[in-house]
Symmetry: C2
Subunit: 375 residues, 2 copies
Amino acid sequence: MDATKYEDFRSPARILLGPGPSMVPPRVLRAMAVPMIGHLDPAFLRVMDDVQELLRFVFQTENELTIPVSGTGSAGMEAALSNFIEPGDQVLIAVNGYFSERMVEMAGRYGAQIDRIDRPWGEVFEVEEIRAALKKKKYKFIALVHGATSTGALRTDVAAITEAAHEQGALVILDTVASLGGVPVEVDAWDVDVAFSGTQKGLSCPPGLAPLTVGERARDALRKRKTPVGNWYFDLMMVDKYWGETRTYHHTAPVSLNFALREGLRIIAEEGLEARFARHQEIAEMLWQGLEEMDLVLLMEPKYRLATLTTVQLPSTIDDLNVRTRLREEYNIEIAGGFGPLAGKIWRIGLMGFSCRRENVLRLLSALKEIISSG
Amino acid sequence: MDATKYEDFRSPARILLGPGPSMVPPRVLRAMAVPMIGHLDPAFLRVMDDVQELLRFVFQTENELTIPVSGTGSAGMEAALSNFIEPGDQVLIAVNGYFSERMVEMAGRYGAQIDRIDRPWGEVFEVEEIRAALKKKKYKFIALVHGATSTGALRTDVAAITEAAHEQGALVILDTVASLGGVPVEVDAWDVDVAFSGTQKGLSCPPGLAPLTVGERARDALRKRKTPVGNWYFDLMMVDKYWGETRTYHHTAPVSLNFALREGLRIIAEEGLEARFARHQEIAEMLWQGLEEMDLVLLMEPKYRLATLTTVQLPSTIDDLNVRTRLREEYNIEIAGGFGPLAGKIWRIGLMGFSCRRENVLRLLSALKEIISSG
């Protein structure tokens, strides 16, 4: 092994305007890099307490079982689904994008009997459609996405959906990966039973943890399981004992990422949620206006637009990959293309957390203008 | 939310001589804290390539499918087991400690038919026992622990076990969480089919990634599965597409932890494996001698002692918790107590990676002497 072939890694320090990871504030990077301590050290247990309190704050909940799952956003999804599925359980999934499709695939692996309602990617379900679907069967839960990373669609009526679900005795599992920390997520006010997210979008922390919160109704469902959860790593009854009072060892928490998350959440607490959401909305509107002034058409109509992730339709005159490559290589800016049915048809532009700044919108718009006009 | 109640976190910067996490070299902490980049950025794809190459080096393997699983060591265990179990598969697990017991619990969740052979914690199986057990049935795999975190026992004859397993058509899954990077792990020379580890022990990186390597025999078994893997997050056929040539998105890799891992592995490459193993052995022997000079008795007989983790029997005159608390609070040193049947009966003292230094042994021995004599 010739160790000299590996040089110091030098980050290109991109302006990250894709769907995540978002840029990480220097304070968070510094907090992550303090000396390691043990995962059962009293000093780390205090960090865990702070992280839980601060996560409750960003989720706007009093839920005791509020933790960062030790994996990325997809791990949060897997934890959220697998803990509430026993083989043969009837579940309903509302599918209108990449990640709701993923929920179907995950839930199937745990033996759920899945009914799905479908809308084309980028369309938003009416509450009445969901209410009607919920009446067909007695479902254990309905799972749906709050802010869609693949389409930029935002559900604005979560409370109406949870009401419809609870009338039928179904729990509500909500994917807030692309929304938490950037647009309002009110777990208690909306009476959401389970919500999960990732750290690398609206929270502007490094990827690797997945905030998750579980309400009392859902916690009861956990306690009433007749079979063990289909996996071990994400088993919330066990994870809860480590994060809860007994501190029973389950797995080694990613210590440094929890340092980072604590600092990232502290920054959010300092800014305040209302100010933060207002900033995200204002800067996103600035982007929307700038794109429209370039005669570009946004995929989502205004009322369903997710401030943290904007989707733009590509005119046929634009070479998707060429523009994105030039943005990255000549302007050091990352944005993303579309997935699945939207591949080659849209760009996805994220304005999340520390990335969500006026100067970044100006940089992107001027870079796009230069590239397209030189095109 | 009163943000001022959360102060800057100040790490107590412990001398970490427990079973992990071990101390993290400043170079690794710095590497982790460079600005974020996207998980599909060409600059990150090069980091992934380097991490894979360097992991092959520490595992001493040419296995193409060699990756860091995006979770802690337990996630590596779950990935290693779940991918090779279809419901009803016959598997054999050799149980003589906490983590082999955990394997039984995990494997059961995926529907394995488990046969176990048992030895009391801290005892080591003879190859002949394992060979005899393997002959009873046609097993899909045998799973066992190389270096036991709960007992300090080291298997010294892995090659003989893989030979016995392969004669019977069984794969070998090896837990190298406590051994990798500190004592020899020779995946190819020993013909191990699947090995997994964690980053926070012998590799001296922060916890949150789980190195995993899968040989061709085992990869064939993956391809021949008739049912999907029982989870989604750890599904190696999907994860492999992200880490492999197509770079198909699966989940967002923990970018910063991969920066850290690359740097930690680079440090190992610079030191060289032979020198590193010699250092671990030499410093561990220094500890053993020092403990014995204090009339303490080591749990393992010399030939089965794991250099990275020493287990010491506690005389009844010593108050376990009191001594460990004083070590932490007065001397800033972390060591660990025992688990399960060994709770209150042993200490576990780790000398792993950057923690494994002569000065740390001297500090610990002198602190222990002071505490015990003041007792």
